[in-house]
Structure formats: C-alpha cells, structure tokens
C-alpha cells in the first residue's frame, strides 16, 4: 500500500541525501578552516566566525524551510521574496516604535503571510494554475503593491523587539535557536504527522494520492500557507534586525531563487515527493559557511555568486546520478496543462 511504502522509502532516501549534505558541510568546514588559516585569514570557527555563519543561516533558513514544504508537495513558491519585504513593513508599521504593539505587529505580519499563502494555494488548486505561474503572478502583484506604496524603509521596531535579532547566548544567536526550533517543528510535521505524509504523497504522485483518499487540494493549500508563514516569519525577523521595514529586503537577497537553491542543495527533489527539512538546513548552512569563508579570504562578493551557481548544479547532478528514477521538470501539483 502507498501509505506504508512511501514513508519507508522516504526515510531511507532522506538518510542518504541528508548524510551527504552534512558530510559535505563537515568537509567544507575542515577545508575552509585550513585554507583560511593558511591564507592568513585567522581562525574560521572563532566566536565571530560562528556568529557570522549562524546569523547568515537564519533568514535564508526560515524561508528555505517553508520552501521545502512547498517543494515536497510538488509545488514551489516564487513569491516569498516580495512577501518577506511586505511582512517586514507590516511588522514595523504596525509596531511603529510602541512596545505594546509588539505582539499585534507580529500577528498582523503572519496574518498577511497566511493570506498570501492561502491565495497561492487556492489559485493553484481551484483555478488549476501552474504553481510556477501562480506564485510568479503573486510575486508581481506584491511587487506592484510595494512599489506603489513604499519608496524606502518605513515604520520602526522597538529596542526590545530588536533583541530578537541581536541577542545571543555565547556565540549562538537566539534567532538561530528559534530557527532550529522551527526546523524541528517542520521536521516533525513532515515525518511524523498525517498531513506531512500527505505532502510526500501528493508531491510523489498526485493522482495516486488522490485515489488513495488524500485530499490533495487541501494538502497543497496547507503547504503554501505554511511556506508563506515561514516567509512572513523571515520578514518579522528582518524587521527586528533592521529596526524598520524595508520593501526590497527579500528581493535584494534573492530569497525566492536562493531558497529554492538551498532546498535542492539539501537533497530535496524539485519535482516533489522526496527530501526533507534536515537536508535543507544543511544546505543553508553550506551556503552560509561558504559566504563566511569567502569573506574571511577577502574574495570578491561577485565571485561568491559564481561559486554558488556551480555548487548548486554540481550537487544536483550528483544527487541525480545516485537516483534511479527522476523527473526533469518542476512538476506542478495540479493542472499541468493549465
């Protein structure tokens, strides 16, 4: 039966891919430490280095965890970058420097995010629009809203709230611990709950899932709501870091494509149905460690992009070699024919 076969295969795969990711991360840390030390860049993993790596992880990690859910369910979300900007603005504007508005501000931002995710999911399932187009369209809609209403940073967050972005325990930022908490929650959701299994089923073969009694539309909508919520949380986090909302904080960092890159780097299959959150966190950490190594070495920042691009392609090529069957394209969850 599908319900029994799927988790078994999935667990086995995830161990494989995740193991590769973390081995690569470990190797990167070792090689990076040696190279940085040899080139006179100091110690890679000193307190500042660890802080830098973990801080770099947090924002992209949050988006990528949400993106993992969408990708596992056979979908993808290109609207996260603009949504992050929007949510950072909502947080900062609702808060407007008042400590009493802290909770309402966060709730408002997450509410906006959930709404966007709901619209994405409904457009994909009920209107049967290809996920690529639906979320690209949503990205354009949000872009228009941002461009017509904002010219630059707006609103402000309180000093207390900014502690969320800057407090740390030793070299470990509190925000990174929160990220780990979210990651564990997402892992538990995907690997241990019924809706989580349904996401693998829908991403693996939506028709089989449907005839097995899975409510496929509901699953896809849920995946998109959760994905957008993660993006919204990223917006809240960045508002806390920046002290205000910034419309292009998400797009400047390219979080839409970068998060998808991190997800596939973590071994999740772009076509859906395989992969998991643990790999994604590893993938994000690899990208962050690379950034830190290059910074320590004083490498041109544009060179980082080149290396990133090559690494992503090589990683996916390696995963593809190790896999028996494959899908070549982003497979939309429903209405592939539009």
């Amino acid at each position: 039966m599908t319900t029994i076969a799927l988790p078994a295969r999935k667990v086995q795969f995830r161990l494989d891919a995740t193991a590769i990711v973390y081995l690569a991360l470990f190797a990167l840390l070792v090689i990076g430490s040696i190279v940085v030390a040899a080139r006179g860049g100091g110690v890679l993993l000193d307190q500042a280095g660890i802080l830098k790596i973990l801080t770099g992880c947090t924002a992209l990690g949050l988006v990528a965890i949400g993106q993992t859910l969408a990708v596992v369910a056979g979908s993808l979300d290109l609207s996260v970058a603009y949504l992050i900007g929007l949510c950072s603005l909502v947080t900062a504007e609702v808060m407007a420097g008042q400590g009493s508005m802290m909770l309402p501000a966060v709730l408002a931002a997450l509410g906006v995010a959930a709404l966007v995710g709901l619209v994405n999911g409904v457009v994909i399932t009920a209107l049967r629009v290809n996920a690529f187009i639906a979320t690209l369209g949503m990205a354009l809609i949000l872009k228009g809203v941002l461009e017509s209403r904002y010219t630059g940073p707006a609103g402000s967050t309180t000093k207390d709230f900014q502690r969320l972005g800057y407090d740390r325990i030793g070299p470990v930022p509190v925000s990174f611990l929160l990220l780990l908490l979210v990651a564990v929650g997402a892992w538990w959701f995907l690997a241990r709950t019924r809706p989580g299994y349904h996401m693998y089923a829908v991403g693996g073969d939506i028709e089989s899932a449907r005839v097995s009694g899975v409510r496929t539309s509901r699953t896809i909508v849920l995946a998109h709501v959760l994905c957008s919520l993660a993006a919204g949380a990223t917006g809240v986090f960045l508002a806390s870091r920046l002290g205000s909302g910034a419309p292009y904080v998400g797009t400047d960092a390219g979080y839409d494509l970068q998060s998808i890159a991190a997800v596939v780097l973590g071994g999740t299959v772009l076509a859906g149905g395989r992969g998991g959150v643990a790999g994604t966190v590893g993938g994000v950490m690899i990208l962050s460690v690379l950034d830190t190594i290059f910074d320590d070495l004083g490498v041109n920042s544009f060179f980082k992009d080149v290396v990133r691009g090559v690494i992503i392609i090589v990683a996916v090529a390696l995963y593809a070699r190790g896999r028996l069957a494959r899908r070549r394209l982003v497979t939309p969850p429903a209405g592939a024919d539009q």
Binding site: T2, A5, R9, V123, L127, V129, N130, F132, I133, A134, L136, G137, A139, L140, I141, L142, G144, E147, S148, G204, D205, E207, S208, R210, V211, S212, L257, I260, A261, L270, A271, N300, F302, K304, D305, V306, V307, G309, V310, I312, I313, V316, A317, A320, R321, L324, A325, R326, R327, R328, L329, V330, T331, P332, P333, A334, G335, A336, D337, Q338
Partner: protein, 382 residues
C-alpha cells in the same frame, strides 16, 4: 500529466490537427483589443508609425519569447536568458570600447557566446540529468557573478554607432525605408524562420519531445539532441535580443533584469503549456507583444508604473486560469510523465507511471473523477 492522459491526447489528435490553433485565438483577440484601445488613448498611435515604434520596442522581448518557446515546448525552462542578456551587453561594451572597426567581430563573438551558454545549459540538463530549472538558475548566478566580477561592479566601455543601429535606427533615411527599424526587420526574419522551423520535421520532433519523450525515443527521435538544440536556440536568440536591447537602451547592468520571467510570462500568455508539447510560436510572440501593448495602454491610462506589475501579475494568473478552465474540462492532466531521460531503467519506481500503461481511448475519460482511470492506483503501489 499522466501517461494515460498523454496517450489519450495523442490518440485523439488526428495527424492533420492544426497545432497553431492551440491558444492562438484568445491571445490574438486580446492583442487586437489592446491595439485598438491604443489608437483611442494614445495620440502617437493615430498613425502606423506609433505601432511600428511599439513593435520596435517589443522586438527584443518577442525574440526572447521565441527562444523561450523552443525550450518550454521541449518541456524545459530557461531562467538564464535575463542574465545572459545583461552579460552580452556588458561584454559588448567592454570589447567594443567605441571602436567601430570591431563591431562585426564582436557581434559574432556575442552570438557565439549565446550559443555556448545554451550548449552548456543543454548538456548539463540532458547528460548530467539536472532539472533545467536548477541548471539555468545556476547559470543565472554564474553569469551575473562573472559579469560583475569581470567589470568590477560597473559596466565600462561603450557601444559603437554601427552596433547600436540594430536596436535604434531605421533601414534608411527617406521613403518607406525610413519607417522600418532594423529591429523589426530582424524580428520578422527570426519569426519567419521560427515558424518554418516548427513546421519542419525537426520542429515537430521538438514539440513531440516535450509532449512525450519516451514515445519520441522509441520512434527513433534524438531526444537529447532536440533539447540541447532548444537551449542553444534560446541562448542564440538571447544574444540577438541583447544586441537589439543594448542598441535601444544602451549599456547598463540592469538591462536584462527580470527578462527571463517576462519571456516566460509572454510565452504562457500565448497559451503555450509549461511542461511542453503544446502551443504555437506565433502565439508566444503575440504574447510578448500583448504584454508590451498592455504596458503601453496602462502607461497612457495613467496607471502608475509601480502598479504595472500588479496588473501584470493578475493578468498572467487570469490568462492561465482561463486556459486551464478551457482545457481542464476536456482533459484534466495532472502530471507530466516522469519517465523521461535516456538512462531510464526498465523498472519503474513507485512514483513513476510505467510506460506500458494502457492508453485511455477517449479524451473525456481522463477527468478529475478518481475512479475513471483504473491504472493509477496500481501505479502508486507498484
């Protein structure tokens, strides 16, 4: 789409089925409406020259859309064209440095670079079996990074007059020649070539590759060569678009930004199906022109430039939702076949529909009802 769905659609299509009809009618109607509307709202559109100027402005996007069409119809994506356009323009400025005598050698080099990028995209996609979304995304990062690394963050050099004439000048100075821009000439030549190509045997094989590559392989078609060819054409046409765009708007590091999504939008607006196998190249071009005409209308109606993208977003979703409600009643095809690729093992895994799935003879039987397709449950459990 499911294997059964593909088979159903193939079997329902008679050999002489006019493929160009797919999705062409709606986009042409919308385009016509927009063009008529332009005549009412814009004084510049009272004479044909206004429309020719629109065509000239739209030519780079239309050419990109043709390239993207080849890739999409073969079942792939090309996200690298935007950064490729930027790279080409920056490279051109750097190499030309305003020296007229270098113009033609640089143009040749640019076209060669476009072909090379397409070739790399195609080879990695087909030989290393990496999804084209990732390959071209990686290529986007590599090109963007490499260009800025090379130029140090700000483009340097200058384009020559001879180079820029392709994007901005007219064929002659008087008479009818003064009315026709080079860009339109280039566009027409490429469009005719593209239409003839899609009507040729190779073009039909390309289309079939996106529809059902296993069938093409079994019939003796060279699937990988088709896909690599599609990427090469996309790269080449991106180079052409870059030459026109560089000539039209000059050197900037933002010249190609977002063009990949605009090109995909244009193609989809033309009713071309993501996933491959359906749609016409004329419709893809019409989609690109529609997008530009729409922006012109919005501009003239005083919709702020900022809201343009919102309108664009709503329209893409609406267009695809409309197309999906049309075809969705006929055949709700939920998945693209997963068994593509040259080294596919004979045994299919749980998630992959086996190729030997019995074709469902009638188009209407592939519907959203779970029990109309008895093959699917077995597929999930095999």
């Amino acid at each position: 789409m499911s294997a059964a769905g593909t088979a159903a659609r193939l079997s329902s299509r008679s050999p002489g089925f006019p493929r160009l009809a797919t999705g062409l009618a709606p986009v042409l109607v919308v385009l016509l409406l927009l063009l008529v509307l332009l005549a009412f709202v814009g004084p510049a559109y009272e004479s044909p020259s206004g429309y020719i100027a629109l065509l000239k402005r739209s030519a780079p996007l239309m050419i990109l859309a043709i390239g993207q069409y080849f890739v999409i119809v073969a079942g792939e994506f090309d996200l690298s064209v935007g950064s490729l356009v930027t790279a080409e323009v920056v490279i051109a400025a750097r190499l030309l440095e305003g020296d007229e005598s270098r113009t033609w050698s640089v143009i040749a080099l640019l076209l060669g670079f476009g072909v090379l990028v397409g070739l790399v995209n195609g080879l990695i996609t087909t030989k290393l079996r990496v999804p084209s979304f990732i390959v071209t995304l990686g290529m986007l990062l590599v090109l963007e990074g490499a260009v800025f690394l090379w130029t140090g963050g700000a483009p340097r050099g200058a384009l020559t007059t001879e180079f820029r004439k392709w994007g901005r000048a007219q064929l002659g100075t008087e008479g009818i020649l003064a009315q026709i821009p080079y860009a339109v000439l280039v566009l027409v030549v490429i469009a005719v070539a593209a239409v003839l190509f899609m009507r040729s045997g190779t073009g039909r094989t390309l289309m079939a590759t996106g529809d059902n590559d296993t069938a093409v392989r079994l019939a003796g078609g060279r699937v990988d060569a088709m896909r690599i060819g599609a990427f090469v054409l996309s790269g080449l046409l991106a180079a052409v678009a870059a030459i026109l765009l560089g000539g039209y708007s000059g050197v900037s590091a933002q010249v190609g930004r977002g063009l990949e999504f605009e090109a995909i939008t244009a193609v989809v607006l033309g009713g071309v199906v993501l996933g491959g196998g359906r749609g016409s190249v004329i419709a893809a071009m019409a989609g690109a022109l529609t997008l530009r005409a729409l922006f012109a209308v919005l501009n003239l109606l005083g919709v702020s430039g900022a809201l343009e993208s919102t309108v664009q977003g709503v329209i893409i979703i609406a267009a695809v939702a409309y197309a999906s409600s049309e075809s969705g009643l006929r055949d709700l095809l939920v998945r693209r076949p997963g068994w593509s690729g040259s080294s596919q093992p004979p045994a299919s895994t749980a998630e992959d529909p086996p190729p030997e799935t019995t074709p469902v003879p009638s188009t209407s039987s592939v519907s959203s009802e779970p029990d109309t397709n008895p093959e699917t449950p077995e597929r999930g459990t095999s």
